[in-house]
Structure formats: structure tokens, C-alpha cells
Subunit: 442 residues, 2 copies
């Protein structure tokens, strides 16, 4: 043992070394084994649900003590709590991922470079993925199924509040995989302590991707602690713009759904933009619907002047770039779609932006001009979600523009390699002019 | 002006703000304008070649003084020197990029989520890309054509040695783009000082991607200075493995080409692995060819024992992971393909790995097991190159596994967005069970 390493560093080095070895083997496993293993894991979650529920009782009780001591919010109990229904949901999601088409080994591109020299771009696993998450224990089956489906090894570190539940879920998962001799041990790993995750994030090499799941502060914290690439859930300052040509019945439904259906989600609307020409007809109606749903409103001066009889406070400059994540909405009247686009370009976080319009040209201008992971026409921002997009499940929604953007599913867990098949081909024969490239798409 | 900002920080903030505004407009330009602009820029390079050559004389003279003072290597003169032929090559590359299919606006995936609710994943530009490069002035036309073809704004910072040539190339390029009123100014930008690039790398936001072009130390240096995503050319410790079933004539050509054709390239071979069963027949021949080409050889003990009459030094442990980038090769005899794969997994840098074999199963095992950007069967490692792959040009070769892997061309300069078209659809009607998702691939 190296005397200069702490105990945690030694543990982590050993875990990562074995994880890398597992990744080398996992990348070559046939689809059927990965799929069967997921279905076996789903069965195990169901048949061992009593163990999950007992462990969760321990976690929930400890958490309730912390809530009474005001050291934990009562909302975290709701996130932590696992029920029979939660387990059924977990099982369903694992089976859904098992049923998705194999993301590995797809030929993404094929080119004949020259006679007898063929190039294939083929999807492959990324390798070893570290997932650091806060309390929700359903993260383990959800992400373990996505990572295994795409041939990756995963190293989890969960929140302390869910330690018992996470331990049991990981145990059930590893036991299920152990029924398959082809699947290497250490395909799924669970770290125990904060010092271990700190040692992992501090490594020079060995981890291909870090996925933090939690608040934006949590994502930022993890990103600042590591040299590895981080794929983090992005902040959502999403807008709905109601154009002059909007069908106002649709606009009412879309604005209401975008704000009220689940305001804590990153894809819920924070700011409503309304074209001046429809403000007098549309605003009173949506304000009434928002009031009935206890939505607090903060408006521009014109909005307040227009809705003088209702309680709307003046929006500050800060309001326009705030992700409320609760039943608060800011409202601004704009002159035209250009001003709406400029507002979104300035204050939006590049997550999901919607326009309500019946004008095809305005819709096209909006979707082309707005630089966001999702640009929607006549649909609620709340559709930004891996399950709703048909990905089966998601790792999170990325507002970054590299690798994966928007809801990240199986595809975001793959890379690709170029396979080149020749017959003794050398580059010298091309530089000498003896041979020429064809570059024919196959 | 903000008193707490340095002059460079003020300059950079202003450049980046205008670059972002340009990116918003550039992303919506039709293909024809971007293509025509590139052909106009190519014409301008040709018609203003005298200006380029005069500027380059200034740079080369200053560099020769530095060489005489031993403050610059003579190899850098070769990289710096621009001739009529270099300009013709630049022009040809710009025209090649102009002729490539539009990488923007492609529908990568289309799904009907439900009746009247259609989701499209559409390729789009990344945004603002900073390119920091060492002396070669041909970087400006090559990368400016790739970035514009993909609808991106670029901010260059070149090496001081090529300052005059870079200035003229940038001037010609901007003048050519100025003939197109649709193309925003600040589409191509050139920074002047190191302090400016330091201020840019230190920004909190505004740059979508940083591309360093230069040595691996340079790439590492740039990466350590910025929070922005970096797409860097990777180190190349590439192998050729000659299997027992290899056609030895092909093996000779491939091993020789991989090492000798251009040893300074990252895709040249550093280590030759030879199956024990063919070592006695193959090694004497390749050793003779290497000796004739002045290749220095470092072998394992068995290699040295086998080639006792020739000058081969014993390879140290360090040799196996060294990117020589010159006419040096390390040679190891292995027991079988498993040992070859293990050697490559341990010492390879994930760049390009080749096997010479006539055995289909061994070839498949090799290409499936090796985790590298390129895995080749019976072809020289030197084929790892954007031009040879049919990409027209490349930004570099990535050994990272996220976003773009291997030679990075136009596709690596794009992101995507999800466009969703509905008819007033809300998520509440799906969670209530009133409607169900179809998820039908279109």
C-alpha cells in the first residue's frame, strides 16, 4: 500500500481499478444478457420489496427526528419515502429500459474510403460513470438500468438520509446481476462516505463521466470539485410567449399547465410573455386562473396597469432571471415576437421555451432563433422530459450544448468508435498519388 | 465602464457580447449564404495572396532572428512559412468545406408523441467557439471555414510568431464576409494579446467551447485555465498488433507506414506488438526495414534475444506509455491476442489501435474489446484523420469519449435542439389519464 494515500484514496483507487476492468468486459456483452439482467433485477425488486420497505422505515424515522429538530425540511421526507407504489413504479421503469432497443453497436455512419477500405462509426459504452445524488432512493434502479443497458459501469454515492434504502437497493441489484456469470462483479458500486466521493472526484483518471443529481447548487459544487466531465441537470428559466395570432383558449391551457401542473420541475414556466395586441383579452382570463390556483404574480408596469383590480406586485429586474420553482410567475407585455425573442435570449437559461401562435412564419422564426434545448409551438413546457419524449427514462435535462442536450436518455450514455477495415492499406500510397480516396457513403 | 475590470477584461466582455449577438443571427442564416461566403473568402485568399506572403515574410524574418538567438526551434520556421503552395492548399480546403452538405437543420430523429404532437431533434450550431493555437497560420482559414459552415462564431488567438500573417488572413476573411449583408460583423474575431486570451478563458459565461490547437502541454495548460468545455487534441500512444494469422506482407507495410510515413503525427505507431508464433519470421524483416529508415528500436527482452545481431536497446517500463513522435519504436512479443489487448488497454491512450490478422473472429474480438477512438483491421494507424475519413477537414482528433471522438469535423461543431409542435397540448391531460402517449418513430 502506498503510504502517502489516505485510506479513502486507497479504497477508491481499488474500486475504480476494478470498475475499469468490469467496463472492459461489459462493453462486449451481447444485448440479450444486458436485457435479461434488467428484467431479473426488476423481478428481484418486486420479490424483495419487504426488505426495501423495512430499510426505508429506518431512514424515514431517522429523517423525521431530524425534521423535528429542524435540521431537515419536511419536503425531504416526501422525497425519501418509499411505498409499495414507489416500488411498482421502479419495477415498471426498469422493465421499460430493458425493452428499449440496444443503444450499443449501432452503425451510425458507414463510408467506403477506397476499394477494400471501409469505415464504420459504431456506438459503444462510455465506460465508468459516477452518479452522485441527493436523497431520492429511486435513483439507484432508474440509473443502474440506464447505465447497464448502455454497457456502462456505475459508481453511486447517495445521500446519507437514504443510506439504508440505498444499501438494500444496491444489494438487490448486485445479487440479481450475480445470477449472470458473464456480467462482471463491480458493474454496480455504492460508495459509503463523503470522504470516498471526495477522493473519487479528486482522481486524475479513471472516471469517464460524473453525473450529479440534485439542486443547482449541488451540481455546481460537484462540478467545481473534479477534472472529469460533468453532465449536470441545468437550471430552468422557461418562458411561454403568447403571440398576437395565438388561439387564446390554447394559450390559457398551455400557460396554466406550464406553471401550475408541477411548479417544482425545472421545465415549468417562470415568465409569461404576452403580445400587446392580445393582452387586454388574454391577461384578465389567465390572471383569474392563476389566482384560483394560488399563483403569486409579478408583472411589468403595463401588466399592473392593465390588471389594476388584482393583486400583482411589480417585477424587479431580478425576477426576470429567477427560477422560482414554486407557484410564482412573472408577466411581461411585449411589442412583438422580436421583443419576446430578445427577452428570452437575455433572461432564459436555454432549457425550454414555448410560443403559442397560429402563424406559421412566426412559429418558424421563434424555433429557429431561440437557442434552447427545447423550442415548442403550441405545447406546454412541461413536456420536456425523457419519459414524455419516448426515451423510457432520463438521467436529467442538460442545458449544455455539448454531447447531450435536453432530456438525456440511453443515447447520452453512449460514445462511439471508428472501426476501419482494410486489406493492408497504407497512407503512403495515397500521399504518393498511387491511390485516391473515394469517400462513398454506404 | 466598470472600474473593477482591467482594460483586457473590458475589451473581452465587449467582444464576447458582440460575438453572442452575432451567433444568434448566424444560427438562422440559410445554407446558401454560408456556402457562398466561404467561396468568396477562398477567392479573396487567392486574389490577395501578395498581402499574405508579405506579412509572412515579416513573421519569418523575425522568427529567423529568434532561431539564431536560440530562442525558437528551426522546426517552427517550417510551420510558420507560408508559400504560394500553402495558400493554394488553404483555398482548396476552404472550397472543400463549402462543398460539404449543410450540417445545420438536419432532422436527426422524429417522433409522434401523440396525435398532433410531433417532436423533432434538429442539428443546430453550438454558438461561440474560442480557438487558441500555436504558430501555424493555416489554422485561421481552415477553422474559420468549419465554424462558419456550421453556423458558429469564432474567436481566434494565434501565436505571437505568426502575428502579421494571422492579422492579414483575418482581415481578408472579414472583408470577404462583409460582402454579405446578412452575415453579422464579429462572426470571426482575432484577439491580440495573451492578457486578452487569459481574460476570455477566465470568464464565467459567454463561450460555448474552447479548442486549443498545439502540443499536449499546451492543451493541458488551456484546460486548466477555464471553466468552459474544452475539446482538445489527445495524446496518441498507438499500437499495431501483428497476430499469428497475419498476412506478413500486409503486416510489414502497415507497421512501416504507421511508424515512418509521418512520425510526428499523433496517429503514428509507438509500439509494435507481435504474436510469438510469427515473431521469428516477421521481426527480422521489419527490423531491417526500420533500420533502413533510421528508426531507433527499443525491445522487450525476447525481442532483443531474437534479433541478437542488431542494435536494439531494452525498452524500459516508461517506453510502453511514451508518445515518441519521432523515429523511435518499442517492440514487444506477446503470447496471444488477449495479451495484446491487455497491453493496449494498459498503455494505450485511446487514440488509434490496429490489428493485422486474417482471422475474422480475432479481428472482431479486437475491435469490440479495445476502447479507442479508432480500432483498425489490416490498415495503417495513419488513416486516423478528418480528411481521410471524408470529413473535408478536421479540428483535431479527440480521445475524449463525450461529444465528439476521433477526428472532429463539422458534426463536432454542431449541437441539437428539440422542436416540439403541438395544438394546445398540456401535460395534465396525460397525467390524468385522459390521453396516452403513442411514441411512434416518424
Amino acid at each position: 500500500m502506498n503510504a502517502t494515500l489516505t485510506l479513502e484514496q486507497q479504497v477508491i483507487k481499488s474500486i475504480v481499478r476494478r470498475a475499469r476492468a468490469a467496463a472492459h468486459r461489459l462493453g462486449t456483452l451481447p444485448d440479450k444478457i444486458r436485457r435479461d439482467a434488467l428484467n431479473t433485477a426488476a423481478d428481484a425488486l418486486l420479490s424483495r420489496k419487504a426488505e426495501i420497505l423495512s430499510a426505508n422505515v429506518l431512514d424515514t424515522r431517522a429523517a423525521m427526528d431530524l425534521v423535528q429538530q429542524h435540521r431537515l425540511s419536511s419536503a425531504s421526507i416526501a422525497r425519501l419515502k418509499t411505498t409499495e407504489q414507489t416500488i411498482l413504479d421502479m419495477v415498471l421503469r426498469v422493465r421499460t429500459v430493458a425493452a428499449l432497443p440496444d443503444p450499443i453497436g449501432s452503425v451510425l455512419e458507414a463510408t467506403e474510403l477506397d476499394r477494400g477500405l471501409r469505415l464504420y462509426r459504431v456506438s459503444c459504452p462510455i465506460g465508468v460513470i459516477a452518479v452522485v445524488f441527493e436523497s431520492r432512493p429511486d435513483v439507484i434502479p432508474q440509473i443502474a438500468s440506464l447505465t447497464l443497458r448502455a454497457g456502462n459501469v456505475v459508481i453511486f454515492k447517495g445521500g446519507r438520509e437514504a443510506a439504508h434504502t440505498n444499501w438494500v437497493l444496491n444489494r438487490i441489484w448486485c445479487d440479481a446481476l450475480a445470477e449472470f456469470p458473464e456480467i462482471p462483479p463491480n458493474t454496480v458500486n455504492l460508495l459509503k462516505t463523503r470522504d470516498e466521493v471526495a477522493a473519487l472526484l479528486d482522481l486524475e483518471e479513471g472516471i469517464d463521466l460524473v453525473i450529479p443529481r440534485g439542486s443547482k447548487e449541488f451540481v455546481r459544487h460537484i462540478s467545481s470539485k473534479t477534472r472529469f466531465p460533468v453532465l449536470g441537470h441545468g437550471e430552468g428559466v422557461c418562458h411561454v410567449y403568447v403571440d398576437r395570432s395565438a388561439n387564446l383558449a390554447k394559450a390559457l391551457d398551455i400557460a396554466f399547465d406550464s406553471k401550475v401542473q408541477y411548479p417544482a420541475a425545472c421545465n415549468s414556466m417562470e415568465t409569461l410573455l404576452v403580445h400587446r395586441d392580445v393582452a387586454t383579452t388574454f391577461l384578465p382570463d389567465i390572471v383569474n386562473r392563476f389566482l384560483a390556483a394560488n399563483v403569486e404574480m409579478r408583472g411589468c408596469t403595463e401588466t399592473i396597469a392593465l390588471i389594476a383590480d388584482k393583486e400583482i406586485v411589480l417585477a424587479s429586474e431580478e425576477d426576470w432571471s429567477t427560477e422560482y420553482s414554486e407557484l410564482i410567475v412573472s408577466i411581461r407585455i411585449v411589442d412583438n415576437d422580436t421583443q419576446a425573442i430578445e427577452h428570452i435570449q437575455r433572461y432564459g437559461s436555454g432549457h425550454t421555451e414555448a410560443i403559442v401562435t397560429e402563424d406559421h412564419h412566426v412559429a418558424q422564426r421563434f424555433t429557429d432563433s431561440i437557442d434552447a434545448a427545447g423550442v415548442y409551438v403550441n405545447a406546454s413546457t412541461r413536456f420536456a422530459d425523457g419519459y414524455r419524449y419516448g426515451m423510457g427514462a432520463e438521467l436529467g435535462i442538460s442545458t449544455g450544448k455539448l454531447h447531450a442536450r435536453g432530456p438525456v436518455g440511453l443515447q447520452g450514455l453512449t460514445s462511439y468508435k471508428y472501426k476501419l477495415f482494410g486489406d493492408g492499406h497504407t497512407v503512403a500510397s495515397y500521399t504518393s498519388g498511387e491511390r485516391q480516396f473515394k469517400h462513398r457513403r454506404l
